[in-house]
């Protein structure tokens, strides 16, 4: 038999050829782009990243000054993207879980309301929803001069929600350390309780000791050190309240818009996951004498999660990518920073390339995290 008839050889040759073709095409495009940029006297390269950015950002979690570099500005924008993505993922999961369960409720009104929620929200484009939330905040709320006082030091206005923030005290580091010690203690207790149950059949209370072990040491250390806690309270200056913690209207609109939109999809995923578990599983677990809560935790959820995790990963990725709509409502995310940098430097190819690389990285990170979690909840024996 001639070697070219060998399927393995042929397959290998095909793959190498295609791969080489793809690389050659990529190299051609890059080389041609550089040539043409040079021919048109358009400056290229990433040298601008080290230069002073010179523009201010509306909000940043990391310290940022206009005198910092473009790279730093990009980082600040990326951190803002992470912030709204993370907060959005948490909120959309909670909302989606509740609405998804509500759609399966035997209560007619609750189930209908949940259906209405899902069908309305997932069928209106996200950009319109963002405009809606933003318009709601800046049109309905009073200007910062006449901010609504929601409680001691809490003010709501067109300038956002401002609230008192605890000031850092050296004692807080010890509290944090005690908290970190509490977590392994709780995990250890859980193991021990399970082993004991396996050995003796006796069940120990789980919830209270776990909470106590996690929070207890931290609270005790906090009290021993004299409960040092002072708040930075927002104070009104010439135009608006300054100081303390702040949720800007831009962040609020983006966060609410993204979370609520995505929660409609997550709700459907949750519903599908629960329905995917055969009712016979419930009955069988009940026949073994398990209580309702244990049936859910030990039998239904492990099987439902197997169905829920992969499509939920998609929704999380959508949320993270949709966060680039932030520019529409003025939130200084990565896209916003890219826009400004692009305009100031004129280096469109580089700026867009960096942005695409960063979004790709963020998406791959979320994907990787969810895949790990998926492996944990997957049923090991099934292939």
């Amino acid at each position: 038999m001639p070697f070219w008839s060998n399927p393995a050889v042929r397959g290998g040759v095909y793959q190498v050829t295609v791969l080489a073709g793809v690389f050659a095409l990529g190299a051609y495009l890059i080389d041609n782009t550089l040539d043409n940029l040079a021919a048109r006297s358009i400056r290229s390269g990433f040298g601008f990243m080290a230069r002073e950015a010179g523009f201010e950002l509306g909000e940043s979690l990391i310290p940022y000054e206009p005198s910092d570099s473009y790279a730093r500005a990009y980082l600040a924008g990326f951190v803002n993207t992470m912030k709204v993505s993370f907060a959005g993922i948490v909120l959309c999961s909670i909302l989606g879980l509740f609405v998804g369960i509500a759609r399966l409720s035997k209560n007619w009104l609750v189930a209908r309301l949940a259906s209405f929620y899902v069908e309305t929200l997932r069928n209106i484009p996200i950009l319109l929803q963002l405009f809606f939330w933003y318009a709601l905040i800046i049109e309905v709320l009073p200007p910062s001069l006449d901010a609504i006082n929601l409680g001691p030091g809490v003010f709501l206005s067109k300038s956002g929600l401002l609230f008192p923030l605890p000031l850092y005290d050296p004692a807080h580091a010890w509290v944090g350390l005690a908290f970190l010690v509490g977590i392994p203690a709780a995990v250890f207790y859980g193991h021990w309780a399970k082993q004991r149950q396996n050995a003796t059949g006796q069940q120990l209370p789980r919830l209270l000791p776990t909470v106590g072990l996690v929070l207890g040491p931290a609270i005790i250390v906090f009290l021993i050190l004299g409960a040092p806690l002072t708040f930075e309270v927002p104070v009104f200056q010439r135009f608006r309240f300054v100081g303390g913690g702040e949720l800007t209207p831009e962040f609020l609109a983006l966060w609410l818009g993204l979370s609520i939109y995505t929660s409609a999809f997550v709700a459907e995923v949750v519903r599908a996951g629960i329905l995917a578990v055969d009712w016979g599983q419930n009955e069988a677990a009940g026949a073994l004498g398990l209580r309702r809560g244990l049936v859910l935790r030990l039998v239904v959820l492990p099987q439902a999660l197997r169905v829920i995790i992969p499509p939920t990963t998609n929704q999380y990725l959508n949320l993270a990518k949709n966060s680039s709509l932030a520019v529409a409502v003025g939130y200084p995310d990565l896209t916003s920073v890219t826009n400004t940098s692009l305009n100031q430097t004129g280096q469109a190819v580089e700026c867009i390339a960096v942005m695409m690389a960063v979004y790709l990285t963020l998406s791959l990170l979320i994907s990787a995290g969810m895949n790990i979690y998926n492996r944990v909840v997957a049923i090991p024996d099934r292939r």
Binding site: L29, G54, F55, V329, G330, S336, N343, Q347
Partner: protein, 342 residues
């Protein structure tokens, strides 16, 4: 926003794919003559500068410049198609060849000259960046704006000027940056920010259109930057560059010489050699530029001189109520100085 990314990506792709051959003499000019219209990049909607009405008719002084080009080159002011561009889109659109000329209140700066592969044609409007605040805040000057939230539009020199001004005066501010001009205006007039900043002409423009009551907003006296606005073309076609440059100068010099749409027919028989060079065929000015001999006549007859365009679009009788100021003729104490056509 996706439009912008798509455009930038398309621009990159076009640059990547198009052959990198050397520029022939006048590729843009030849292409325009062949397709018989000029593709002109303008503002997405800035009253007085570039804005489309409900029938899709474009008006504004930036628009008039493109109409002047069409009249000079193709003999008909209507042989122009407009591409509305947001601030971040505009340079990519020109670099990639999607438009032939960018006439979209764009500031001439060193960095733009040096790094974009584009040419500034000349100054079409001398502007400067200023601030606008709601009257009820009782702010008298920009120095009082310490700590304010300031609404700005993305992708302009505005952000940099604003930051420079506050840094120089050791003040702080909080920018709220919007991608689209519409969202920026909506947010400011809804009261999201205590101030907004852009070129003074644009402040007057949006105040006249978007404010419920224009008198509720004041433009502060400080002008914090120089913003010479003008059209741009791509490098690589010097003949096209020359045409754009001289249509600009023609419209300026026609005003100086008092040639208007109304009197251009009478002036055609004027004995003044300068007038003859502008709108007649003396010394074959049109031929030197590769244009028809009546190019100047057509521009003035169909579009008018610079002053006419100014008064029609942004002058005292329009809602913008802008003074000629720096944009008066040099003979009237302004900076507008049409270079001699001879």
């Amino acid at each position: 926003m996706y439009k912008k990314i798509a455009m930038a990506a398309a621009g990159a792709a076009m640059i990547a794919v198009s052959a990198s051959g050397s520029a022939n003499a006048g590729p843009v000019l030849n292409a325009i003559k062949q397709k018989d219209f000029i593709q002109c990049g303008v503002n997405t909607g800035l009253a007085g500068f570039g804005i489309a009405d409900s029938q899709g008719n474009w008006t504004g002084i930036d628009v008039d410049f493109c109409r002047g080009l069409a009249a000079a080159l193709l003999g008909d002011r209507n042989k122009v198609k407009f591409t509305p561009l947001s601030a971040p889109q505009r340079f990519t659109a020109l670099q990639s060849g999607e438009i032939d000329v960018l006439s979209r209140n764009t500031t001439n700066t060193l960095t733009r000259d040096a790094s974009l592969g584009l040419h500034f044609v000349g100054v079409w409007y001398y502007d400067g960046q200023g601030f606008m605040v709601p009257r009820r805040l009782n702010v008298k000057g920009a120095k009082e704006l310490n700590g304010a939230e300031i609404c700005v539009q993305a992708g302009t020199t505005t952000e940099l000027n604003l930051t420079d001004y506050f840094r120089a005066n050791r003040m702080t501010f909080k920018p709220v940056v919007f991608e689209s001009a519409e969202e920026w205006r909506k947010a400011f007039f809804a009261g999201r920010c205590q101030a907004t900043t852009t070129d003074v002409s644009a402040l007057a423009s949006v105040r006249s259109v978007d404010a419920q009551n224009p008198d509720d907003f004041v433009i502060l006296p400080e002008v914090i930057s120089k913003e010479p606005l003008g059209p741009m073309v791509r490098r690589g076609d010097d003949e096209w560059f020359a045409v754009t440059k001289w249509v600009l100068n023609l419209m300026l010099e026609a005003e100086e010489k008092g040639i208007t749409t109304e009197n251009v027919d009478q002036m055609r028989s004027s004995t003044d050699p300068t007038v003859q060079r502008l709108i007649g065929n003396r010394d074959e000015m049109g031929k030197k530029l590769g244009l028809a001999e009546d190019w100047g006549y057509k521009v003035i007859k169909q579009v008018g001189n610079y002053g006419e365009s100014f008064e029609r679009n942004i002058g005292k009788k329009t809602p913008l109520r802008l003074d000629r100021g720096l944009n008066a003729q040099w003979t009237q104490g302004g900076l507008m100085y049409g270079m001699p056509a001879r």
